[in-house]
């Protein structure tokens, strides 16, 4: 089936309009319904949780979240403040959990003597948490619950 050119163009325009407006609505909810050309009042900065208590991981491979403040912690070519407690040699004095052995492997799973450069930037995966209301509904179900549900059905 062949459409004349102008109909194709019109179709694309209408479709993009529909999709675009749907996206715009999503963005609007995050912006509290304030138009894009108006600067909304900045929300309060939430406080970082500082309880030092381990949190449950949502799935086994999840990088554990940081249960303490990391304000001004330097991670640069010169120094890594996280490793001054969490590195293998420092854990005796700090009693902090040691970085996992996966951090000593390069991308080909070759085990290195020290932290792999690709695992050096801790906050690429590990982040602090704040007690805030979720911006969108979360429908995540823990895999263990799914397994139980599967057995029951």
């Amino acid at each position: 089936m062949k459409f004349p050119f102008f109909i194709t163009v019109a179709g694309v325009l209408v479709l993009s309009g529909v999709i675009g407006s749907a996206y715009a609505e999503d963005i609007m909810t995050l912006r509290d319904g304030i138009a894009i050309d108006i600067e909304p009042k900045a929300p309060l900065m939430p406080k970082v949780e500082n309880t030092d208590e381990k949190r449950v991981r949502n799935y086994p491979e999840q990088p554990p979240t940081i249960p303490h403040h990391v304000r001004s912690y330097e991670i640069s070519t010169n120094a890594n403040k996280c490793l001054s407690c969490h590195s293998r040699k420092r854990t005796g004095e700090s009693q902090a959990p040691m970085i996992s052995v996966t951090h000593f492997m390069d991308r080909d799973y070759q085990v290195l003597a020290t932290v792999s450069p690709r695992r050096y930037f801790c906050n690429q995966c590990h982040v602090t948490q704040a007690d805030t209301k979720p911006l969108v509904e979360n429908m995540f179900i823990d895999v263990e619950d799914l397994l139980i549900e599967g057995k029951n059905n």
Partner: protein, 203 residues
């Protein structure tokens, strides 16, 4: 040459003879009071000048300080915080005790030399020297048991129940027992760190 030496010697003898002889025209009262007043003015002037060199404005008068360490300080808790108490350069880098202060000021004459000859007048030069410069401060604070930290943060005033669990444990274990001093663990809290390879506690 000998004529010059003889001339200088004559001048020395002249000054000595005049200072050791009683005053001919000035009364003892004038000399005593005048000496006292001059002393006050000199001492006041000296201390005022000394205090001027103990201000943040004076420190960041040199671009070496303004463009490197001062910029790094600004985002840290010692410069910006919820209660608005601010530690300025001399609060941490100049001892408050008078004799120690004068000793530090005498050491600082080497820094004037560095300024004159541009030892760290570019960012690159500063970074190249950073490990050595930071090392001087770590050594100084290690030697005086982190006195400048303790001018504000006293062990007796520290309520560890208000601290996070890991901070409380660490302070009880290492600080209260005297095993470690503040700077042993809290390096780089106010400025960026140099290359920490080989520094104790950063293995």
């Amino acid at each position: 040459m000998t004529a010059l030496i003889r001339k200088i010697w004559k001048l020395v003898v002249y000054v000595w003879q005049n200072t050791t002889r009683p005053a001919k025209h000035l009364s003892i009262g004038f000399l005593t009071l005048g000496g006292f007043v001059a002393g006050v003015i000199f001492w006041g002037g000296f201390n005022t000048a000394l205090e001027v060199t103990n201000t943040e404005t004076f420190c960041i008068g040199c671009h070496e300080m303004a463009d490197n360490v001062f910029v790094e300080l600004q985002s840290t808790i010692h410069y910006t915080n919820r209660s608005g108490v601010r530690a300025t350069c001399p609060d941490c880098h100049v001892p408050h005790n008078w004799t120690d202060k004068i000793a530090r000021k005498m050491q600082a004459s080497k820094e004037v030399w560095g300024k004159l000859f541009g030892t760290i007048n570019t960012r690159e030069k500063f970074l190249a020297h950073r490990r050595r410069l930071a090392g001087h401060e770590w050594e100084r604070m290690k030697a005086n048991n982190s006195l400048e930290c303790r001018n504000c943060h006293s062990v007796t005033g520290m309520d560890i129940t208000q601290q996070s669990a890991r901070a409380a444990t660490a302070h009880q274990k290492f600080l209260f027992t005297g095993q470690k001093t503040c700077i042993d663990c809290h390096k780089g809290i106010a400025h960026e760190l140099p290359d920490m390879t080989g520094v104790a506690g950063w293995e």
